[in-house]
Symmetry: C2
Subunit: 132 residues, 2 copies
């Protein structure tokens, strides 16, 4: 293996493929912000991250998922963007101008949400979103 | 661990953090296409993917890296975009209109390349780029 690989016992996540398929179907295989449809560019994001979910069901619950382009996923996952109850994107004050442009944040249409997503997004706003 | 986690022996990659630091420094901590500077949104992409590198040195060689926003990384990694010898982005014919807009592909400035990168990009064009 050389010096850049080793074998170690690691935790692996089971069911992620199933979660992705369910989230892809729920969101019509399209990122709601960019219209991107290429599966290679789409990520099934967890609203409440996998590691913070309290149960297996929660980890695989389609209402805990959003289908985002890879850039929106990175921004959402790191708390540089979140969403309010109306589905409007809220940027962290720390998100710079170039990133806002790359996300086309000003043009982002509101997400169509149901209450099962709103409650989880409330958690995301309080626990993940970078407020300063 | 519940039913969604298990422990397995897995290959781990050693030196990826060092590679990322070197690539971040080389490219001035900025994605050359989007101007994105948030580390959370930046990926140190391999031109020749880790798994295809023939040596440890090659895996960690800064000239085998590009610093890309997460969306450009996903597109480059999957071969939906590549670059010619002049550093101009070339889209796969299979890349859709929304993805081209999300990447702002038409506005992408040419990459400033050196020969150590050009030879690896030639490999990327022939082995990874999706030509149809």
């Amino acid at each position: 293996m050389g010096d850049t690989e080793a074998e170690r016992a690691q935790k692996v996540r089971i069911g992620q493929d199933r979660f992705r398929v369910a989230v892809m179907d729920y969101w019509n295989r399209t990122c709601p912000f960019t219209g991107v449809v290429e599966p290679q560019l789409l990520r099934a994001s967890h609203i409440i991250p996998w590691a913070d979910c309290e149960s297996d069901q929660e980890r695989l619950n389609v209402h805990n998922g959003l289908l985002l382009s890879s850039l929106w996923d990175a921004a959402f996952d790191s708390g540089l963007v979140t969403f309010d109850d109306l589905g409007n994107a809220i940027a962290s004050p720390s998100l710079g101008k170039s990133a806002r442009l790359a996300l086309a944040l000003e043009k982002a249409p509101p997400l169509q949400l149901v209450d099962e997503q709103r409650s989880r997004l409330a958690w995301h706003r309080s626990e993940i979103w970078v407020a300063d």
